[in-house]
Symmetry: C2
Subunit: 217 residues, 2 copies
Amino acid sequence: MRAVFQQELADVQDRLVSISELVADAIDQATTAFNQSNVALAESVIERDAQIDEAAAELDELAITILARQNPVARDLRVVVSALRISASLERMGDLAEHIAQLARYRFPEKVVPKSLRPTFKEMGALDVKVARRLTELLRTQDVAEAERIRDDDDQIDALHLSVFDAVLGETWKGQAVDTVDATLASRYHERFADHAVLISKKVQYLATGDWVPQDA
Amino acid sequence: MRAVFQQELADVQDRLVSISELVADAIDQATTAFNQSNVALAESVIERDAQIDEAAAELDELAITILARQNPVARDLRVVVSALRISASLERMGDLAEHIAQLARYRFPEKVVPKSLRPTFKEMGALDVKVARRLTELLRTQDVAEAERIRDDDDQIDALHLSVFDAVLGETWKGQAVDTVDATLASRYHERFADHAVLISKKVQYLATGDWVPQDA
């Protein structure tokens, strides 16, 4: 029974890693589509979001089966409950990647943001991809140093997010309303994506260090 | 043991109802603060968000304790796991109410949106409040008719959300970039608030009808 249980827990972890890989690919392609106005790539991200949703739903079912059959307690129980939450955040990260791809598709053949903001979005996009790859690594290795790096990356993304507002609200902003709307939404999606990565990495970190923070704060 | 367990499940439900009441009060006051530029009210919403976070965290701990001690299976297990997810959505709804209050505070003594959009936001705000009150009722009574009404209200909110973009991107839009940013974010917060209510009501509905949809879709 114990060996089966350990195998099931390992399966949960493996699945989290593969969903995280799908999410990392999605944000990589979504931000590329966004920055290069690549509508085919955008559509492929949009189509494949269902895969992430499905993988997350399957993981949830597995976690619920483990709860029913194995009655895990103490740390094992927290690992399984955390998996449910991590899967919800990964699923949401997939949605946000999809939203970024949708913006690229809506505006095609135009670019989503005006020239002056493109370097900022390129940087935010690259950081989101970095965060997603680190997250996969964190879920695979439970190396908490990775969690710290995700938080540092997130601080940079937050600063870029604020700089988008500064640009849009500044005196030199020449954008039309459509540019303002797109920049606002796109920046918000990029920022929320990394927020979820931070939420997940806090959960992994607390599980690894034995210190549990129940809140999503 | 069974009686204790039933009492614990009832306690979970009661707590969900009270968190939902806190969220309904928060959105009521946040949208009032937003529409009337009432900075004191906005600050009170912002301050009290910690209460919602705390109540959600306590409920999560209770749910985890029940999982460990009672080893619920079948429908009971789904009820407890759903409670964890409902609590996460309620906590997020509290955050979104807080964001709406923050917009009111940032722009004070100015109003957040220009005159032309105020009726729209008044309507969206009133619908969000309605949705939150219905959600409390749904969690209290498990009356699935309430879930249907929440979905109808959400459809109206989605339509208003799209109408904000139409207004902002229309030829008659006279707003400055700051108005465009605020309208975009405010509309998004109002819309996401109702989305979470729909997610929760789907979970309650499927638990009530015995038909389980694992996905957050």
